[in-house]
Point group: C2
Chain length 245, copies 2
């Protein structure tokens, strides 16, 4: 299964291999690999970079964390495998609690992901999950004193239905998703169209130096969610127009 | 692991689940799921349809099969799981031989995919594979009396390096790939930018009614490969420009 080092997409194939191994260990659901592939396409279309509008979104995210009373970070298998230490750093700066939230939920996977996050320095909220989200299926499960009572939830790489259910409950929802057309992105209060390992440290960095007056001023002028989506779509359109030149 | 039927992307999730099961059975490589996800994104961007330029490409593919002396179809795990019976129909009409070609090659997977194809009515070429393609890694393996001696190879869902190696050997290469920017698509003699289960029956249907003079006339006016890529990119650009309206 080793990837030939002379392959032009070596890095991308290595990340896939890491996720494949995590899947074989049971941490990532098989469908998580498909979801990752979808993200890869959009990352490529965006020029494999964090575009300026996403940097602006990261700044707004830092401000939302600053003023939130009960901020949560919902972490699934893909996020844990790709970005456990980046989550730990963001948690230290924002004081947000971390809850494991899974689309394909089993207690075994919850425990494995919790262990993986804990090993990276994340403090994971534990407890008895209840069916509290307005969704069919096991996706409805979350912790009462965690995501259910939160006023702000950051959901990197989340399923669109689950992100939508959180918004329906009146929470501010920050998503991180490379697809500006996904239901996840279109549901968010603040959609961050960016690669998760690149943009989490950016949020952390903004949050580190933020003052209260800066946070309030950022939120006063925060663009509409659609502005962030359109900026990403415009970037893709511009790139497509001269990619074969 | 069951998908809630009220989920708005039920069909797409079901196909993923099928591939996930095939992976657990060892037929599809884990990385094949990522590759499928990449395709899903582009399918969505293209409007989940076979665009007119891809229909034209299918007509050209039928003509290339008609005039080929030794046409081959290279089938990997994803293609076998998604389109075994469509491959069988195309083989019947074109007389092309089918060879199993894998990026993540093991003899066990070759046998499993061969069985799966055979059960669907495909005649699979067998023999002792040799390192005949100009590639590092086990990707170099193919059959001497199969792909190595072919003048035309159809490679649905192929890795870009492998498609490139076939082109280097002077073969005409028809690719089926939803990503118009992939190296696979940009390497092809004839890049078909379409979903494999939709476009294979279209090629079969064109091939069924083709006469020699029609085939020659189609090939005389066959567009440049870049024309097919640009047509797909234009479709995506147009869709992106008013998707948030």
């Amino acid at each position: 299964m080793s990837i030939p080092v002379d392959h032009p997409r070596y890095h991308s194939l290595r990340v896939r291999e890491r996720l494949a191994q995590a899947m074989q260990a049971g941490v990532v659901a098989p469908e998580g690999l498909c979801a990752h592939g979808r993200g890869e396409s959009f990352y490529y279309l965006l020029g494999e970079q964090t575009i300026p509008s996403a940097q602006e979104a990261a700044r707004c995210a830092a401000a939302l964390f600053f003023v939130a009373k009960h901020p949560m970070i919902s972490v699934n298998g893909n996020t844990a495998v790709l970005a456990a230490s980046e989550i730990a750093s963001l948690q230290k700066v924002t004081g947000a609690m971390v809850e494991v939230g899974l689309f394909h939920r089993t207690e075994e996977r919850i425990l494995m992901i919790t262990d993986l996050l804990t090993a990276a320095g994340v403090q994971v909220l534990k407890g008895e999950a209840e069916r509290l989200l307005p969704l069919s299926h096991d996706r409805a499960f979350c912790l009462r004193h965690g995501i259910y009572e939160a006023d702000l939830v950051l959901v990197p790489l989340e399923d669109g239905d689950r992100a939508g259910a959180l918004a329906l409950l009146g929470k501010k929802v920050i998503t991180i998703d490379l697809n500006p057309l996904s239901r996840t992105s279109r549901t968010a209060t603040l959609p961050i169209i960016a690669e998760v390992t690149e943009v989490l440290p950016l949020i952390t960095s903004y949050a580190t130096s933020l003052t209260q007056s800066e946070a309030i001023s950022i939120l006063d002028t925060m663009p509409d969610p659609v502005w962030f989506l359109q900026a990403a779509l415009d970037t893709i359109s511009q790139r497509l127009s001269h990619v074969l030149d």
